[in-house]
C-alpha cells in the first residue's frame, strides 16, 4: 500500500552478525531448530498451557462445573462448530468496523497532535477520558444513542482508539532529529516534516499499536454483545453461561481468543512485510515529555494549568451538548451540572461524596494490586522474551491468548474458581495490565541502539549485562508509555470485576445505581473513575520526566 523507499534509505542498516555471537551452545542449537521449525516454539508454549490446564481441571476444579478439560473443549469446539461459525461472522464484522473507525480517528488525531501541540494539550485528556470511561456503566446510553449493532462497533472503536493514538504519537515523535533538522533547513514546515520523516518513523510504533488493537476490537465487540443482541459470540456465551454449560462457555471463549490471536498475528505479519527495519531502528528520539520548554517552572506549571482548564471546559461542553442536542431524557442522562449538584448541593451531598470516595478507595486498592502484580510479571516476561528467542516463540502465543480472553465472559468464571474476593479482582486487573506492558516493554528493550549493543558485545559483555546496562534503560520510556495504558486499564479491570462479581467497590456501586435507576449516582461514579484514570495518566507523565532525563536514551 505504501512505497517505503523514502523511509528505508535511512534505515537500511545492517542486521549485523552479532546475533551469532551467542554464548550458549545449547541455546544456539535450540535457536537453530526454532529457526527451521518456527512453529515448534509456539507448539511447545501451547502444549505447556494445555498440560497446566488439564492438571488444573482434573486436580483442582474437578466436579465444580467451572473448568472443563482441554479434551472436553476440543469436543465442544467440534460440537458447536456451526454455532461458532455463524456467530463469529457477526462479531468479526462488528469488531473490524470498530477497528477501522477507531484506528482511523486515532491516526488522524495523532497527526494533528504532532503538527499542533496546543491541540494535543487540549484534546489529549478528552481522548484519554474516552478510554478511561467504564463502558459497562455507560452502556445504556450507548444503546439509546446508537441503534442496532452500532453500540458494539462504537465499543470496539473505543477499545482501540487510545492505544493507537498513543502509539502513533510516540512513533511520530521518535523521528530522527537530524532528518527533521534537514527538512527544516530546506525550509519545510511541520507538515513536510510529517510527510517526509515522521510518518515513516512512526510505522513500527503504529504497527505495535495496531497489533494490540486487533484483539482489543474483538473484546470491545463482545462486551457490546453483552448489552444485548440477536447474535454474536457474546450472545451465544450468555446462553451457555445461563445453562451452566461450561464446556460451551470455554469453547466460545477459546474460539474468540483464537480469533483475536489470529488478528494479532496477521497484523504482525503485515508489519513485518511493510516495516522490515522495525526491530533495528538505530535511534529513538527523546520522548515528548523531556523535550518540552526550556523556560521556567512557573511558566510550565501555569501553562499546564491553563490546558487542564481548557480540557475540562471542552469535556463539560461536549458532555452537555451531547445530552442536550440528542434530547436525552433527564431521568437517565445527567449533565455535568447535575453531577456537580449531586456532589455539592443539598443535605445529601456530603453523604453522596463520602460513599463515592469510600468505594473509590476499595477500587483503587483492587486496581493497584492488580497493576503491580501484572507489571512485575510483564517485565519479567519481557526480559525473558528478548533474551531468548526460544522463550519468545513459546511465550508470546500464551500472552496473546491471555490478552484475547473475553474478560466480560470470563470474569464470572474466574470468580467461580477463585471466589469473589481480592484474588479474583487482582487477577482480572493484572490480566488487563500484563499484555500492553509486555508488548511495550519488549518493543522498548529491542529499541536499544545498535551502536551501544555492538559496543557491549565487543567488550564481551554477558547477556544480562547488556540487558541491565543498555536494554533496560532504553526500555524505561516504553514502561511509562505502557503504564499510561495499563494503569487506567487496571482501574477499569477492577471496576469490571467489581461490577460483574465481587459486589464491592465503585464498580458494584455503579451496578446498584444502574439497577435502581439512581442515575445521578451512576454518572457521578463514571465521572469519578474517569477523572481518576486521567489523573493517573497525568501522574505517570509527571514521574516520567525526571526519570527519563536520567535514564532515557539520548536523541
Amino acid at each position: 500500500m505504501v512505497s517505503l523507499d523514502g523511509a528505508t534509505s535511512r534505515h537500511v542498516d545492517e542486521r549485523p552478525g552479532v546475533e551469532e555471537s551467542a554464548t550458549d551452545e545449547l541455546e544456539d542449537a535450540v535457536r537453530a531448530a526454532l529457526k527451521r521449525f518456527k512453529w515448534l516454539g509456539a507448539v511447545l508454549g501451547v502444549t505447556f498451557l494445555l498440560v497446566l490446564w488439564e492438571l488444573l481441571a482434573v486436580f483442582v476444579f474437578e466436579g465444580k462445573h467451572i473448568m472443563p478439560t482441554p479434551l472436553g473443549v476440543v469436543g465442544g469446539l467440534w460440537q458447536n462448530r456451526v454455532l461458532l461459525r455463524e456467530n463469529a461472522g457477526i462479531t468479526l464484522s462488528e469488531a473490524s468496523q470498530g477497528w477501522l473507525w477507531g484506528n482511523a480517528l486515532a491516526i488522524i488525531l495523532a497527526l494533528l497532535f504532532v503538527v499542533s501541540p496546543p491541540v494535543e494539550a487540549a484534546l489529549l485528556r478528552l481522548a484519554i477520558a474516552s478510554y478511561a470511561m467504564p463502558v459497562i456503566a455507560i452502556a445504556p446510553i450507548l444503546n439509546i444513542v446508537f441503534g442496532g449493532d452500532k453500540p458494539k462497533v462504537v465499543l470496539a472503536a473505543m477499545s482501540v482508539f487510545l492505544t493507537t493514538l498513543v502509539g502513533m504519537s510516540a512513533g511520530l515523535r521518535c523521528a530522527d532529529r537530524t532528518s527533521l533538522d534537514l527538512v527544516r533547513a530546506y525550509g519545510g514546515g511541520s507538515w513536510s516534516a510529517v510527510t517526509k520523516v515522521r510518518l515513516w518513523a512512526s510505522l513500527p510504533s503504529l504497527f505495535a499499536a495496531l497489533r494490540i488493537a486487533a484483539p482489543a476490537a474483538l473484546l470491545g465487540a463482545i462486551i457490546g454483545e453483552y448489552l444485548g443482541g440477536t447474535s454474536g459470540l457474546g450472545v451465544a456465551m450468555i446462553n451457555a453461561e445461563q445453562s451452566l454449560d461450561v464446556t460451551r462457555v470455554w469453547s466460545i471463549a477459546l474460539f474468540a481468543s483464537a480469533l483475536a490471536g489470529a488478528g494479532y498475528a496477521l497484523t504482525g505479519l503485515v508489519a513485518k512485510y511493510l516495516t522490515p527495519w522495525a526491530t533495528s531502528v538505530s535511534t529513538i528520539g527523546a520522548p515528548p515529555a523531556v523535550g518540552s520548554s526550556r523556560r521556567g517552572r512557573v511558566y510550565r506549571a501555569g501553562r499546564s494549568m491553563l490546558f487542564l482548564l481548557i480540557s475540562v471546559g471542552i469535556t463539560v461542553l461536549v458532555w452537555t451538548a451531547f445530552v442536550r442536542l440528542l434530547h436525552l431524557n433527564s431521568y437517565f442522562a445527567k449533565t455535568p451540572l447535575d453531577v456537580w449538584k449531586y456532589l455539592t448541593q443539598g443535605q445529601s451531598a456530603p453523604g453522596n461524596r463520602a460513599i463515592l470516595l469510600n468505594e473509590l478507595t476499595v477500587t483503587l486498592r483492587d486496581a493497584s494490586l492488580g497493576y503491580v502484580f501484572g507489571t512485575i510479571l510483564a517485565v519479567i516476561a519481557a526480559m525473558a522474551v528478548v533474551t531468548s528467542r526460544a522463550v519468545e516463540t513459546m511465550f508470546m502465543p500464551i500472552a496473546v491468548v491471555l490478552r484475547s480472553v473475553p474478560l466480560v465472559a470470563m470474569t464470572p468464571l474466574i470468580a467461580l474458581a477463585l471466589g469473589r474476593g481480592l484474588l479474583s479482582v487482582t487477577i482480572i486487573a493484572g490480566i488487563v495490565t500484563f499484555f500492553p506492558t509486555l508488548v511495550n516493554v519488549v518493543q522498548g528493550l529491542r529499541s536499544a541502539s545498535e551502536e551501544s549493543l555492538l559496543l557491549m558485545r565487543s567488550y564481551d559483555a554477558s547477556r544480562l549485562t547488556i540487558l541491565r546496562k543498555v536494554q533496560v534503560p532504553s526500555a524505561l520510556p516504553s514502561l511509562f508509555s505502557a503504564a499510561r495504558i495499563a494503569a487506567p486499564g487496571a482501574l477499569l479491570g477492577a471496576v469490571l470485576a467489581e461490577w460483574l462479581s465481587t459486589g464491592k467497590g465503585l464498580g458494584f456501586y455503579m451496578l446498584e445505581a444502574s439497577t435502581e435507576s439512581q442515575y445521578n449516582a451512576l454518572w457521578s461514579g463514571v465521572t469519578l473513575i474517569t477523572v481518576v484514570s486521567v489523573a493517573i495518566y497525568a501522574v505517570v507523565g509527571v514521574i516520567e520526566v525526571p526519570i527519563l532525563r536520567r535514564f532515557g536514551p539520548q536523541g
Partner: protein
C-alpha cells in the same frame, strides 16, 4: 385448553375490523432471544401484530440491558422488565406506567432434592438454604412474610451453580422455577420446588411498561393496544402449540444462541402456570387484578422499594378484552 374453549364465540372488534396501518414500534426484551419471549416470536411470525396494523421490531436484550431508559427515550414503545426496576425508575423521575403482567406469579422458588423435599416455608427451619448474594434481600423479605426469624434458618452464600444441593452441602436452594430445576434434571437429579409466590411473596414478573404520556396520546395508545393484542394472542398460541413455540425459538429467532428444543419446551411448560392463573383464566393473559396490584406494592415495600398502585394501569387490558376472558386465535 381452558383459555380458548371457555371464551365466548363473539369476535373482538380489533381482529374483525380491517386493520389500518398504525406504523412501526419496538418491543424491548430484557434478555437474549429464548423461550421467555416465545409469544412475541409467534405473534411476529404468525402475523398477530401485523393483523392489528402494527409492525413490531423485537429488540433483544442481555445481562446488562437497562430496559427503562430505552422505553423512556422512545427507542422502544413497550419494554418487558421487572416491577421492581420500573418502580425504582419511576421513583427517580421516569414517566413510566406498567400496563400488563406476563408472569402473574414471580418464578422465584425454593428447590430441594425430591428424596428430602422442603414442602413449604416452615420446612426451611433448621435447614441450610443456599442463597446467592444478589437474592439475599428477597430471601430475607420472604422469611419475614412467613414470620420466620433469620436465626431459624442457616443461610449459605452460594453462586448460581446448584451442584451443592445435589451433593448435599445444603438442603434448599433459592432458584427460579424456570431454570435451576432443569439444570439438575439434566444431571439426573430429581428435585422438588415450591413457589415463593404461593407463600406470600406476591410479585409479578415480566411486566410491560410504556411511557405514561403515550397512554394519553391517541395514536400511541392505539399502537400500544395493537402491540399488546398481538402479544396476548402470541402467548395463547405458544401455550396451545408448544412445539411451534420451541421450534420458532430454537430455529428462527434464537437460532445463533445455542438453544435446544427439549430444554426450551420444558421451560415453556414451567412458564405456563405462571402466566395462566385464576385471574388470567377469568380475565385474560396479562390482566392486572386490583388486589394483585396492591399485593405487589406490599411485597415491593418489604424489599425496600417504594411503589404505588398508581404505577400500574390496567385500562389498556380492559380496552383490549372488552369483557371477554380471552382473545380468539386466528385460524
Amino acid at each position: 385448553m381452558p383459555a380458548t374453549s371457555t371464551g365466548s364465540s363473539t369476535t373482538v372488534a380489533s381482529t374483525a375490523a380491517v386493520p389500518k396501518s398504525l406504523g412501526a414500534a419496538g418491543l424491548q426484551l430484557d434478555w437474549i432471544e429464548d423461550i421467555e419471549f416465545a409469544g412475541s416470536f409467534i405473534a411476529k411470525s404468525n402475523g398477530y401484530y401485523s393483523d392489528n396494523g402494527i409492525d413490531v421490531t423485537l429488540m433483544a436484550g442481555g445481562p446488562t440491558t437497562a430496559v427503562e431508559p430505552i422505553v423512556v427515550s422512545g427507542k422502544a414503545l413497550v419494554g418487558i422488565t421487572g416491577p421492581d426496576t420500573v418502580s425504582q425508575a419511576i421513583n427517580n423521575g421516569a414517566q413510566l406506567t406498567i400496563i400488563g403482567a406476563s408472569m402473574q406469579k414471580a418464578p422465584q422458588a425454593i428447590m430441594s432434592l425430591a428424596k428430602t423435599p422442603i414442602l413449604n416455608p416452615q420446612g426451611m427451619i433448621k435447614k441450610r438454604i443456599g442463597v446467592q448474594a444478589s437474592n439475599l434481600v428477597a430471601f430475607n423479605a420472604f422469611l419475614k412474610i412467613n414470620n420466620i426469624a433469620a436465626s431459624q434458618v442457616t443461610i449459605v452464600p452460594v453462586q448460581f451453580d446448584p451442584t451443592p444441593l445435589a451433593s448435599g452441602t445444603v438442603d434448599g436452594w433459592y432458584s427460579f422455577i424456570t431454570n435451576e430445576p432443569f439444570l439438575l434434571a439434566a444431571k439426573g437429579v430429581a428435585t422438588h420446588t415450591f413457589l415463593m409466590y404461593d407463600y406470600g411473596y406476591r410479585l409479578y414478573s415480566g411486566v410491560y411498561c410504556v411511557l405514561t404520556p403515550n397512554l394519553q396520546n391517541a395514536s400511541k395508545r392505539a399502537q400500544i393496544k395493537a402491540l399488546m393484542t398481538g402479544e396476548i394472542i402470541g402467548w395463547e398460541k405458544a401455550f396451545d402449540d408448544p412445539s411451534l413455540a420451541a421450534n420458532l425459538t430454537v430455529n428462527v429467532y434464537g437460532k445463533t444462541n445455542g438453544l435446544d428444543i427439549p430444554t426450551q419446551t420444558k421451560e415453556l411448560a414451567a412458564y405456563e402456570p405462571l402466566y395462566r392463573t385464576a385471574v388470567t383464566l377469568a380475565h385474560g393473559l396479562m390482566w392486572m387484578d386490583a388486589a394483585e396490584i396492591s399485593q405487589n406494592v406490599n411485597t415491593l415495600g418489604l424489599l425496600g422499594i417504594k411503589s404505588a398502585t398508581s404505577y400500574f394501569d390496567n385500562s389498556v387490558m380492559q380496552e383490549i378484552y372488552q369483557g371477554q376472558s380471552s382473545l380468539p386465535i386466528p385460524a
